[in-house]
């Protein structure tokens, strides 16, 4: 793979990342994250 081809890989991944984030928001995954993050996560802090 030459350098000019290699330059496009991060660009492609950034575009893919943006698409994934949009799909995730559309699927309301942010609601799952929010629900978990605004309550004290007992497992995370080691309380079971």
């Amino acid at each position: 793979m030459n350098e000019s081809q290699k330059k496009w890989i991060p660009i492609f991944l950034i575009v893919l990342g943006i698409c994934f984030v949009v799909i995730g928001v559309w699927q309301q995954e942010t609601a799952d994250v929010f629900r978990k993050a605004v309550n004290i996560c007992m497992e995370c802090i080691g309380l079971g």
């Binding site: 350098e3 290699k6 890989i9 991060p10 660009i11 991944l13 950034i14 893919l16 990342g17 943006i18 698409c19 994934f20 984030v21 949009v22 799909i23 995730g24 928001v25 699927q27 309301q28 995954e29 942010t30 609601a31 799952d32 994250v33 929010f34 629900r35 978990k36 993050a37 605004v38 309550n39 004290i40 996560c41 007992m42 497992e43 995370c44 802090i45 080691g46 309380l47 079971g48």
Partner: protein
């Protein structure tokens, strides 16, 4: 008289700039940690922030149960989504990691991770013999990928209860960041949580204490051997927009970069190693300024003489 004053002023400014440059990474780490963990009331009240910013991920390992946290840890968020009954994959978190990974790679580990900052500070504690790496380093480095696949992806998806809900295995059994930034402050300030202590907290404290002690002797043991977020970003290091390049014409292979590298990477051979956290010590140490990032242009005479560089990318 006026010119003497002016030259003293110019000298003090240049000293200040040099000092700031030397501590730039530490300043960025402290500022970013303070910015993303700015809910001071949480520490006083023994609660956590419940505002809308909690739906957004932060790039580093930053437990959302830290009383000060204003955002969410991507590893915790991924497990939260895949262990819910509605999803088996998180486009949101994977997309976020693709974005940050493709732009910065493990620059996030070196500059933006709060637990990385803690390990950096611990390693500044003087100790009679500092180790460059642990015995079995080559094999141990693979452990973080095992943790990523096993504790973050497979176990939360496969081991489910009667209603199909899994557990955040990494957060529950391994994450020292959650214990340090979430568990300890909450338990200190919240008597109700203190009464809920069990063997699990003892286990997580054991992991935390072991890593704290190890961090004094070895540079960033958690990032090297256990961190699943570091494992994700490490994959992007060779292809991220922010990379290092070695000017082969200027490099004499003196290994000064490897000696300066706290992760013991032979930068002159592998400038974009999966272990590189982009701390920049190799760049600063290189006597020939042969290491440059993709944001910089090489200052070596070769560029002027040859009109270009033979670069290891």
């Amino acid at each position: 008289m006026f010119s003497v004053r002016r030259s003293i002023f110019a000298w003090s400014v240049s000293v200040l700039v040099k000092k700031m440059k030397r501590h730039l990474r530490l300043m960025v780490q402290v500022c970013f940690t303070a910015l993303t963990n700015g809910y001071a009331a949480g520490f006083a009240k023994g609660t956590i922030y419940k505002g809308s910013t909690k739906m957004y991920c932060v790039p580093g390992l930053n437990c959302y149960s830290c009383p000060g946290a204003l955002g969410s840890c991507p590893i915790g968020s991924f497990q939260a989504v895949v262990t819910s009954r509605d999803h088996i994959f998180s486009f949101y978190v994977v997309g976020f990691l693709l974005l940050f990974g493709a732009i910065l790679g493990r620059f996030v580990c070196g500059w933006l991770c709060p637990f990385g900052l803690v390990q950096d500070l611990l390693h500044k504690i003087p100790f009679s013999k500092k180790w460059k790496k642990l015995p079995g380093d080559r094999v141990l480095r693979w452990l973080k990928y095992v943790v990523l696949m096993g504790f973050v992806v497979i176990l939360p998806l496969v081991v489910v209860d009667i209603v199909g809900q899994g557990q955040p295995w990494f957060c529950k059994y391994i994450c020292p960041s959650g214990t340090l930034f979430g568990g300890i402050p909450l338990i200190v300030s919240n008597p109700l949580l203190r009464s809920a202590l069990s063997w699990l907290f003892a286990w997580k404290m054991l992991i935390l204490v072991a890593l704290v002690l190890l961090s004094v002797v070895v540079y960033r043991p958690f990032c090297r051997y256990l961190c699943p977020l570091g494992a994700v970003y490490s994959v992007f290091n060779p292809i991220a927009l922010y990379r290092y390049r070695v000017n082969e014409a200027a490099c004499t292979q003196c290994k000064t970069c490897q000696t300066a590298c706290p992760m013991d990477i032979p930068v002159y051979q592998t400038p974009n190693s999966a272990e590189c956290i982009r701390c920049g010590k190799c760049k600063a140490a290189c006597p020939h300024q042969a290491i440059v990032s993709t944001l910089e242009k090489s200052k070596t005479p070769c560029q002027e003489k040859c009109g270009g560089m033979s670069l290891k990318k």
